[in-house]
């Protein structure tokens, strides 16, 4: 459509190009540096050592950063649109903290296989979401109430997590803490493939729900007068958001702030109507990939990527709060 539509498509396309370029650069960085040309050759059927490095060692991690970042970005975009609030992000309202609780419980009780941890995280995230949804429900769920209830539940879960870690034996607590920092370091093809399959299943759901989501942005009366069933649609969207977040959290541990920051950055870059899903996902992917590069290569020793996003996100959150309070002052 129209001029604005064209400009948005161009901006979204530019984000795709950026994501590809950053990914190629990321695949070349490391103890055995490769030029972008070598990387591309290795990706497309080259053999030998460069190929092994790129395809077996670096690609899972780069792909994980891109795809998981995208999933977080999309889930944040859906949630901010649902709650009509830039703070309405699944990590702010406790889904990832709840996933962490689930993972700690599994690790502490001694069933600490990577599959066990993932299942625990998934269950923890879903239960937290259910609790938040039920507590916030009063003839339908509305944005701000959901956020405030979520922040309360998050605070509660943080103390539960600390209590669990304090009671646990040292080495168990250490494993759990490492998981809780959020890292892509341990993601190989073995962990990545099941997560990719799950996300591939969720993608058509997101696409199918994207237009109803746009109608919900107009307010419930208008959406319903257009023939949308508002509350079931909202519930379906919450479930999709939780599933996206839980799949990522189960694979990596909680990664903060990507879901919060990516959609808003994307909205400013693309200048979209409302919070953009596709651009939010693209920015999320690039953001997590860059954060992971920083985590691996900037500090003297590699740090978990969750720490990097925490720092970036903290700065972003302060900026957001300051500009929001200026606007309302």
């Amino acid at each position: 459509m129209t001029r604005t539509g064209g400009r948005r498509r161009t901006a979204t396309l530019a984000l795709v190009v950026v994501a590809v370029v950053v990914a190629i650069v990321a695949l070349g960085i490391g103890d055995y540096p490769l030029s972008p040309a070598q990387v591309v050759r290795a990706l497309f059927g080259g053999d030998g050592f460069a190929s092994t490095i790129v395809l077996n060692w670096r690609l899972p991690r780069v792909l994980a950063a891109l795809v998981f970042g995208a999933a977080l970005g999309v889930s944040g975009a859906i949630f901010q649109s649902l709650t009509r609030n830039p703070l309405g992000s699944p990590d702010v309202i406790g889904f990832s903290t709840g996933a962490y609780t689930g993972a700690i419980v599994v690790i502490v009780t001694g069933a600490a296989s990577s599959l066990g941890t993932a299942v625990g995280a998934l269950a923890g995230g879903l239960v937290t979401a259910l609790v938040v949804y039920v507590l916030a429900y009063r003839r339908g769920v509305h944005g701000l109430r959901l956020i405030i209830v979520g922040i309360g539940v998050t605070a509660l879960l943080h103390s539960v997590n600390s209590w669990l870690l304090l009671r646990a034996q040292n080495e168990v607590a250490l494993t759990a803490s490492f998981w809780g920092a959020g890292s892509l370091a341990l993601v190989g093809w073995q962990q990545l493939v099941p997560a990719l399959v799950l996300l591939a299943v969720l993608t058509p759901l997101v696409m199918g729900l994207s237009r109803p989501l746009r109608q919900l942005e107009l307010g419930d009366y208008t959406a319903r007068s257009h023939g949308l069933r508002a509350e079931p649609t909202r519930l379906a969207l919450v479930v999709v958001v939780v599933a996206l977040t839980a799949v990522v959290t189960a694979s990596t541990g909680p990664i903060a702030f990507v879901a919060l920051a990516a959609p808003q950055l994307a909205r400013r870059l693309v200048r979209s109507a409302g919070v953009p899903l596709v651009a939010g996902g693209l920015v999320g992917g690039v953001l997590l990939l860059v954060a992971d590069l920083v985590a691996q290569h900037v500090a003297a020793d590699p740090v978990p990527v969750g720490l990097v996003t925490l720092v970036i996100g903290g700065v972003y959150l302060i900026t957001l709060l300051v500009s929001e309070s200026r606007r309302s002052a």
Binding site: M1, T2, R3, T4, G5, S81, R84, R139, G208, R211, R214, Q215, E217, L218, G219, Y221, T222, R224, S225, H226, G227, L228, R229, R267, R271, S272, A273, G274, V275
Partner: protein, 293 residues
């Protein structure tokens, strides 16, 4: 208009005997045979949670009418409109769309027949006029039936009708109040429904913009759309309505043409406003002029 304030009551006052007295419902039994009702409420109990608005309301919207619902604040006007839009399900009794129980008609099918302009809507940040109006096409789209030429034509026609063609690429946040209301109207028009429900469409607009919109609705009515509007201004109601529904305390207390219904007695009783009713010097429709109190 002030010049006419001193005129004596017009002969129109004689109609007082024909309009029903407050507290009595009218024009339901006899009308069914003679009128084709597009929308009807039959003993509908309308309530939110524990707050009952209407115990058992009866109302009819004739095919091709310009029906205006008036009544004091909190009398159940908007609630009746919501019931007609299938947004509120009656506890008992029924609401009928073309003779069918509206709750049993699929939501999207209702949305292709009945459009609603709610009192308040929210526009997402940064959305342009054309994008917002295009969202009115939702009821005509499906999972597999996406944007088509028909949609485009409907949006273009709605933009032209509301005089917004020059503003298609402008963000809605940058428009004036009057323009913004026209955008919401355009979205409802893009829905291309034969019935249009308008919940206080002129509130918050200056007087010229109020008449601009009312003229637009009259034009749509002239083209065959059945229009149902909740209005506060009795003189606007009398000027534009073919059918008037007067409500008080959740009940319909009078129905008929403005000339039949809008009498000094009724306005005094229902609105607690002593007045004289004179013919509008421009259109001849009844005009309510309050007395000094």
């Amino acid at each position: 208009m002030n010049a006419d304030a001193t005129r004596p009551p017009a002969p129109g006052g004689a109609d007082a005997t024909r309009a029903s007295a407050p507290g009595r419902t009218d024009a339901t039994g006899a009308s069914d045979a003679t009128r084709a009702s597009r929308l009807a409420a039959r003993g509908a109990h309308l309530a939110y949670d524990r707050r009952t608005v209407s115990e058992a309301v009866d109302a009819d919207v004739r095919e091709g009418s310009f029906t205006v619902i008036v009544g004091p604040n909190a009398c159940g006007k908007s609630t009746l409109l919501r019931a007609f839009a299938r947004l509120l399900k009656p506890r008992s009794g029924s609401v009928l769309l073309d003779g069918r129980e509206i709750a049993s008609v699929p939501a999207k099918e209702v949305a292709r027949t009945v459009g609603l302009l709610p009192q308040t809507s929210t526009a997402p940040d940064g959305i342009t006029v054309a994008e917002l109006v295009a969202r009115g096409r939702y009821p005509h789209q499906g999972l597999f039936r996406q944007w088509t030429g028909t949609d485009r034509e409907a949006v273009d026609a709605a933009l032209a009708e509301t005089d917004l063609t020059g503003l298609v690429d402008v963000p809605v946040d940058e428009l004036s109040g009057g323009q913004r209301q026209r955008v919401w109207v355009a979205m409802a028009l893009a829905q291309q429904t034969p019935v249009l429900l308008l919940d206080e469409p002129t509130t918050y607009l200056d007087v010229a913009h109020q008449y601009d919109l009312l003229d637009l609705f009259a034009r749509l009515h002239g083209q065959g759309t059945t229009v149902v509007a909740v209005l506060h201004d009795l003189n606007q109601a009398a000027r534009y309505a073919t059918d008037l529904i007067v409500m008080a305390d959740g009940d319909v207390v009078a129905t008929g043409t403005p000339a039949e219904v809008l009498t000094e007695q009724l306005v005094t009783d229902v609105f607690d406003l002593p007045c004289v009713v004179v013919p509008d010097p421009v259109t001849g429709s009844p005009m309510v002029v309050p007395r000094r109190r």
